[in-house]
């Protein structure tokens, strides 16, 4: 356990000391702030646009951070052999994976908090009140990123850095489109295609399950069951991806 914490803390520290992160954060905050521009162009409800854009930006930049940081923090370590230092010591390979994963997650959380705070401030300037529902949106994005980071770790163990980050990005894109494709194919007659789509739909994480933006922006109630199921869903896929990562890593020769 201590090993996991040590590795996680070191991973977190490495990311903080890398200036790329500040660039992302800067862009994210800039985007959130410039939502004001959009709101000036519209006729009608301005807050809706700020919330839509803000939540979308938080999701997008969290995704970018997951994809980029996983390359830096995980792939690089395995490729550059700094992992030697850790694995020659009395540290199990699963501790390495968990440590890397939680370090990555800690970065996501830190960024999420900062971006959410920025959005809250902007909304406050417009509505004059702190909109606590934004935290739900941030929480859901966190779950989505938890799943994505797990896949990022898996790909880092299995393939080269650049390919790994492309695959992680692909999981993000497909994860959001899979529900739509599944619904569209319901009308198809071709059983083979439907079967293939069904397999993809159930095997890959349906990231739309973490999307409550519509409810949040239109102030609709979110059923508690949906939230609990979403948490369970995230846990299952995270466990699955990390388990696969461990299976691959425990037999990998570090050359």
């Amino acid at each position: 356990m201590r090993a996991v914490y040590t590795i996680a803390r070191n991973t977190f520290r490495e990311a903080i000391r890398d200036r790329i992160l500040y660039l992302f954060l800067g862009f994210a905050v800039l985007l959130i702030v410039s939502s004001k521009l959009f709101s000036m162009l519209t006729v009608g409800d301005e807050t809706k646009i700020i919330k839509d854009l803000g939540l979308g930006a938080i999701q997008f930049f969290s995704m970018l951070i997951s994809v980029m940081m996983s390359v830096m923090l995980v792939s690089r370590e395995v490729e550059n052999r700094t992992a030697f230092n850790i694995l020659a010591k009395p540290v199990r390979r699963h501790s390495f994976i968990l440590g890397k994963y939680f370090g990555l997650l800690a970065i996501i959380v830190a960024n999420l908090l900062l971006m959410t705070a920025a959005l809250l401030v902007i909304i406050f300037l417009y509505q004059g009140e702190i909109d606590l529902t934004i935290f739900t949106g941030a929480g859901m994005t966190f779950l989505e990123m938890a799943v994505l980071c797990a896949f990022a770790v898996l790909f880092a163990m299995v393939t080269k850095p650049i390919l790994g980050s492309v695959l992680t990005l692909a999981v993000f894109v497909v994860g959001h489109m899979t529900q739509g494709i599944w619904l569209l194919t319901e009308r198809l007659q071709d059983a083979v295609t439907r079967f293939i789509v069904a397999v993809v739909y159930y095997v890959l994480p349906n990231l739309e399950r973490f999307n409550f933006k519509s409810e949040l922006v239109h102030s609709l109630p979110i059923p508690a069951a949906a939230v609990w199921w979403a948490i369970l869903y995230a846990l299952i896929f995270t466990a699955l991806a990390l388990f696969l990562a461990w299976l691959k890593f425990r037999e990998k020769d570090l050359l």
Binding site: V43, L53, L55, H176, G180, E208
Partner: protein
């Protein structure tokens, strides 16, 4: 130092050239005046998928694009794809209220050219919104207003106002509006019955006052219909209009002086042989 200056100059020159070329390209007329590119937008489901979980923002973006586009463009047939555009936006985010509202407004700008089809479009869009947001009164009320003001169709307006009043968050004002719209088709008794209900639902002093005012007018009208004939009767019998209620009670026409809804005696206008009502209402 010199090298730095030269570098800056080279960069500035290149950027200026790029800006110039961009400007020149911009002046080549290539905008499709009819907005034909709108034809090639995929349907809502595909766009939603492409938005990767941000359909709300996509709707916002398309909406802002649409209102800027329609606000600026001068071509005559720009409204060709207006319906399609706003249908798309409202398909993507059905709960977003502004596109219904503003879409209807933009469509109304075309009302003179082809009133019938425009009318259909406007109300089709607003009804779509009313169906998509069942708990909200605002779009129904908008529809009622537009029917009355632009199309001078009080029946249609009343139809929408009724829908509006049925919505859970309908303000008192909406109920009053409906009452006004129906005043042409209801009997006075029906109106009075309705407005009693409106008064009962009043929550603020202002609402009560306004409702009472109108009820007063309605009841006065009712009383007028009863009392004015009586005055005429008296005039026929006695050859002249009565000047006070005592004359009528003395003649056995009435038991006592009639009171207006506020509890004051009516006045009598002997020249025209009509009752006169006070307009002031005591705040009870």
């Amino acid at each position: 130092m010199r090298r730095a200056v030269i570098s800056v100059v080279i960069i500035a020159v290149l950027l200026a050239c790029a800006a110039g070329v961009e400007y020149a390209q911009g002046r080549i007329p290539r905008e499709d005046p009819l907005g034909l590119r709108l034809l090639y937008l995929p349907t809502a489901e595909y766009l939603e998928m492409l938005s990767l979980g941000n359909k709300g923002f996509l709707a916002d973006y398309l909406y802002i694009w649409a209102i800027q586009y329609y606000a600026q463009f001068k071509a005559n047939d720009r409204f060709l794809y207006l319906d399609k555009m706003f249908n798309l936006i409202t398909d993507i985010d059905p709960l977003y209220r502004d596109p219904y509202r503003i879409g209807a407004v933009i469509m109304l700008m075309e009302a003179e050219r082809d009133p019938q089809s425009r009318k259909k479009s406007v109300f089709k869009l607003l009804e779509k919104g009313m169906a998509a947001i069942p708990d909200d009164y605002a779009l129904a009320e908008e529809a009622a207003w537009k029917a009355r003001i632009f199309f001078k169709d009080d029946n249609l307006a009343a139809h929408y106002a009724a829908i509006a009043t049925a919505r859970p968050n309908a303000p008192h004002w909406t109920k009053r509006f409906y009452g006004h719209l129906k005043s042409g088709s209801w009997t006075n008794a029906q109106s009075i019955a309705y407005w009693e209900g409106v008064l009962a639902e009043a929550e603020t002093d202002y609402q009560r006052m306004v409702s009472l005012n109108h009820l007063y007018d309605l009841k006065v009208k009712r009383d007028r219909e009863i009392l004015n004939p009586l005055l005429k009767q008296f005039a026929d019998r006695f050859g002249r209009c009565p000047e006070s209620w005592e004359q009528l009670t003395a003649a056995g026409v009435l038991q006592s002086a009639p009171l207006d809804p506020a509890g004051n005696e009516y006045g009598i206008d002997s020249e025209n042989c009509e009752i006169v009502a006070q307009k002031e209402i005591r705040k009870d």
